[in-house]
Amino acid sequence: MTGPSFEMRLIEALLFASAEPLSLPALAERVTEGVDVRAILAAIAERYHGGGVELVQVAGGYAFRTAEDLGPALRAGRVPVRKLSRAQMEALAIIAYHEPVTRAEIEEIRGVALGKGILDALLEAGWIRPRGRRQVPGRPMQWATTPQFLDHFGLASRDDLPGIDDLKAAGLLERRPGVTLAMRGEEASEAAERDG
């Protein structure tokens, strides 16, 4: 049996060297034109399968990652990953499933104003980024997720978000204002005063 080809070794080395996922085009750029990068990736994945390090498809690219079952053994002595508050987690899910989404939309879906330390923590983690402004009065900023978000949660793309197809089919990802908007400002506060 002959050893692995030069191109295969090169792609293996490129992926192994990088901490971040590399996209198919980025890999193709490094090898001779016409080489079937996809086939090589499949062969590499096959070769690593079952070992302590695996080739995974993540954030629109490929990366070597330690096998998931070794997590507990590898975790020892490392800094624990960021803990998310409930509000941060919900805001992150809303951004990921509805992107691009405005702050007001996040607040409508949750039915409560976004407190401090929610968006900035997600921004600091590198999981969200601004993505254009909505072309409506006030031109509010829109938020979307980043490749680091996909990488952190081991997702190949947004299509891999848990249950996203079902949610789409159920119409739950459509843009519809929350009920609080159905109340007219003055009416609501008058009503509150009356009852209060």
């Binding site: 490129l14 192994f16 060297a17 990088s18 901490a19 995974v56 070597f64 990652r65 330690t66 096998a67 998931e68 997590g71 590898l74 800094v79 624990p80 990953v81 998310l84 409930r86 509000a87 987690m89 919900e90 992150l92 899910a93 809303i94 990921a96 499933y97 879906i109 949750r110 039915g111 409560v112 104003a113 900035d120 921004l123 600091e124 590198g126 980024r129 601004p130 990488d151 952190h152 949660f153 081991g154 997702l155 978000l161 848990p162 249950g163 949610l167 159920a170 739950l172 519809r176 929350g178 009920v179 609080t180 159905a182 109340m183 506060s189 009503a191 509150a192 009356r194 009852d195 209060g196």
Partner: protein, 260 residues
């Protein structure tokens, strides 16, 4: 009685909920928690019983004198309105969204929030980088040209730098505006000048300056003049009386001694 038992169960649920008040992420979240107690498919949620539960919850939270954020009360008011419209025939069927539409919309929002809460939990259960899977620790970087530099600077760094710069660049200036209120010293001086001989009981109000347009300053003038006339009474120059509570405050010059 079955109803009583039902009531007790609900009561226990409500007590537990009230104690958890801090853990709700707003009124919709609270409604969703109550809806889950119905143990039915959220798509077939019954809005009126849910509204009643919410209103009962708010009532109880108030009975226990818990601090309720305004949005809980606004929601309570809106739900009470929705309930009345659901129970009564619609007076102007075409003027606004119908009660059924509003109720459907609320049900939609509950389902949507529930979906997002589940999605968030599902995300957290995924293998996470740095906890379950680890990347290459000793990165080797390759660049097309030797000597190229990469920068470890994120968008967050950039935005935070600008944010800090702007909060630093705009020092919070605290300006204390000169007070325009009527000083007691001025009132005292004014009263001394005008009170030479007032033999009959006279309303204090008649001694007040009249050229003040600002209501706040006018009230401070009244307060200052009242304080001033107490001072003059203590020194024995005038007598002060108020015949009934909230009645006019009257004063007259003491006859025995002339003012200095």
């Amino acid at each position: 009685m079955a109803d009583d038992q039902q009531w007790e169960v609900n009561q226990a649920v409500d007590d537990r909920l009230v104690l958890q008040l801090d853990s709700f992420e707003g009124p919709i979240d609270l409604l969703l928690t109550l809806a889950r107690e119905q143990k039915v498919d959220l798509a077939r949620i019954r809005i009126v019983p849910l509204v009643e539960q919410y209103l009962a919850f708010i009532q109880q939270a108030r009975r226990m004198r818990l601090e309720l954020a305004a949005d809980y009360l606004v929601m309570a008011a809106w739900l009470a309105y929705l309930k009345s419209r659901l129970l009564l025939p619609d007076p102007q069927p075409e003027a606004e969204p119908s009660a059924t539409e509003l109720a459907d919309h609320l049900a939609f929002q509950l389902r949507r929030l529930e979906a997002m809460q589940r999605a968030g939990a599902a995300l957290l259960e995924r293998p996470r980088l740095g906890r379950d899977r680890f990347p290459r620790g000793a990165e080797e970087r390759f660049e097309p040209t030797a000597g190229e530099v990469t920068y470890d600077v994120t968008l967050y760094d950039l935005l935070r730098a600008y944010g800090q710069l702007r909060s630093r660049g705009e020092p919070a200036r605290l300006t204390i505006a000169a007070t325009r209120l009527y000083a007691v010293e001025d009132a005292l001086e004014r009263l001394r000048e005008r009170i030479g001989a007032v033999p009959e009981w006279t309303d204090l109000a008649r001694f007040l300056p009249t050229a003040i347009s600002d209501a706040m300053v006018a009230r401070s003038a009244l307060a200052s003049h009242f304080a001033a006339c107490l001072e003059l009474a203590r020194d024995g120059f005038i007598d002060v009386r108020q015949i009934q509570a909230f009645g006019a405050i009257e004063l007259r010059t003491r006859r025995q001694e002339p003012l200095p």
